[in-house]
């Protein structure tokens, strides 16, 4: 088991969770009732895919971010 602190970027609220091996980013977001969010270690790291296991990619006690989905773009540069 690993402990994770998920920071909801918009509010700064910290949600503590404990995850087991194989837990995916989608599992975490579902558990925290953050369906429209994405998990990442920060803006300098890529987002975790929903089906991606986060267990091996985070350290025990690590802080990660949940931010809402957003994309820079207009129709011509999607």
């Amino acid at each position: 088991m690993k402990k994770l602190s998920v920071v909801v970027a918009g509010t700064g609220q910290i949600r503590d969770v404990e995850i087991q091996p194989g837990t995916t980013a989608g599992d975490v977001l579902h558990q925290l009732n953050l369906p429209d969010y994405l998990l990442s270690k920060g803006p300098n790291e890529p987002f975790f895919a929903s089906a991606e296991s986060v267990y091996d990619k985070v350290k025990d006690g690590e802080k990660i971010f949940a931010s809402t989905k957003a994309e820079v773009g207009v129709a011509v540069c999607a």
Binding site: G10, P43, V72, C77
Partner: protein
Amino acid sequence: MRIRDLGTRPAPAALQNLFARVTRGQAPPPIVERRQLPYWQEHGWAQQGNIYTGSYQTPYAAFQGWIEQERSGRINFYIYNPSNNIRSHSHWTCFQHRGNDWYLVHMGREPRDVSSGIMTIERLIKEAYER
């Protein structure tokens, strides 16, 4: 040697505290409160009404910015004088010049909060420098 008994008197408070701590055992360590700040605030942006000012920060470069949150909920992100790396990015067409080297960053998919938008732009800047 002759000893004269002068009676007893209370020990100084500091000594009393020390003995009390030894007999009670160690007190539990204090819990440090975690600061629960939104990303924009944690990263040095300032808010005045519906306007935020600060900088988009990446390991490669930082760019001055300001953000306007409209009453409708729509959020407009501006960046000052984007570098050549950003201008060479495939999303450069999404930066609309607004005069005096300020650019509006058009969001195809709009973030629901200021922090998520800042993170999105910082991610794009990083990408521009890693290409």
